[in-house]
């Protein structure tokens, strides 16, 4: 149990996919303009990350590693995740239309999001067990959620400010993203020390 908590904390704060590892920057900048869209996107990311990990982990272990094909990891994962998200979209449309409408356009948008691919590959590289991988994927999704919500708050402040003309628009947004990321670097080493033995 302690292991799971430490994995989640590490994924949310220390190894935050957006702010520490700079993956998934595209939706981070593109969809963070208002809180409602940011939350919708983040929930879809959490959902897809967990699902993608649940499917790709057995494929890696049973198919690729068993037949010495581990070098095909990236291309196979992309293929599987893309097909999976499409399948989920079709299934949601049929069985849970309310959720389909809520996730809306974000579900196909994140089909090949690098953060999703990053999580599935990182789980393999970190030599996690199946349960740990799922927990890590969930935590990474939460980390994405946190980054999106924080940044949408920052952006709503930016909307009402008047930066110098050369900075207005995307430049000031990138500067703000850099500062938020710097803040998250302050979490470095916290989880290791929190759960250190002895």
């Amino acid at each position: 149990m302690v292991k799971f908590v430490s994995i989640i904390l590490a994924a949310v704060l220390v190894n935050n996919y957006v702010l520490r590892q700079f993956l998934g920057i595209c939706p981070f900048l593109g969809v963070s303009k208002d809180l409602k869209n940011a939350t919708g996107m983040s929930i879809a990311v959490v959902f897809v990350m967990v699902l993608a990990t649940a499917v790709t982990y057995p494929i890696q272990k049973a198919l690729l590693e068993a037949h010495n094909l581990a070098y095909l990891q990236t291309i196979v994962f992309i293929l599987v995740i893309a097909a999976l998200v499409q399948f989920v979209e079709i299934a949601l449309k049929k069985f849970i239309p309310a959720l389909y409408r809520a996730l809306g356009v974000y579900l196909p948008l994140i089909t090949t999001n690098c953060a999703v691919l990053g999580v599935t590959i990182a789980n393999i590289d970190a030599k996690y067990t199946y349960a740990e991988s799922i927990v890590n994927a969930f935590g990474s999704g939460l980390g994405f959620f946190l980054a999106m919500v924080i940044f949408s708050g920052v952006r709503s402040k930016l909307e009402n400010s008047r930066p110098p003309k050369a900075f207005s628009g995307l430049p000031i947004t990138l500067v703000a993203a850099g500062i938020v990321s710097l803040a998250f670097f302050g979490f470095g080493g916290i989880v290791e020390n929190l759960f250190a033995k002895g």
Partner: protein, 273 residues
Amino acid sequence: MFPIIIAISVVAGIGVVAGALLTTASKVMNVPVDETAEKLRECLPGANCGACGYAGCDGYAAALAGRLEAATNLCVPGGDTVSREISEILDLPVLDVIEQVAAVHCLGCVGTVQQKMTYQGINSCRAAKLQYSGEYSCTYGCLGYGDCAVVCPNNAICVQDGIARVIHERCIGCGLCARTCPNGIIHVHADTITCIIDCSNHARGAEVVKVCSAGCIGCRKCERECPVDAISIKENLPFIDYDKCVGCGHCKTVCVRKCIRFADFRGELTRSY
């Protein structure tokens, strides 16, 4: 030679399996699309303004297709053209759309209304309203930061001399501005009206005079003089019963504060979306 064939066949195999899965899934779990709703949606303007009372154009189209007692003449921005198309698709008699137009009931521009402070906060009416009801002494009038102009889907509102003005030729009558205004001084009327009261201050005359030189003092002259008894004073402001009003313009002539406006609110719509 050998390893690459395995690699290719594995990736291709996964591709074929995924493809087959998706194809069967889309066949098995096919959700029939309501063609009437699609067709109705296409003839609606797509401004998603909500004037019909449904959640956007998609919502109205779905309600019409489902025949949930949705009237066919609810799309005010679309006007008669859209009403006619909807009626054709649904095979119902054509209903005329009463075009609507928004009007700002205030004349308190720079120079007429007293300023009580200089506001330097966030550039929006809602924020200004939260801070001592804005920078003007009149707490009923236009705040002048143009929240209404921001929400207008057809750029029909501009802020001039610190007061919002509706360009009637561009107004589609969706009422988004009326719902946005924190002081509630924008009202949507049928565009057949000819006169409106240009003040929203419910305070008594003496107090109005102190804060604004253009405000209505509730002197009841218009109420007494109106030849068809269409005007009644409610809470120190004239209220025009447009069913009775004949548009003679007498009230405007007798008004001592010149706060009754006569204008033609109709006019060809010009659209920007």
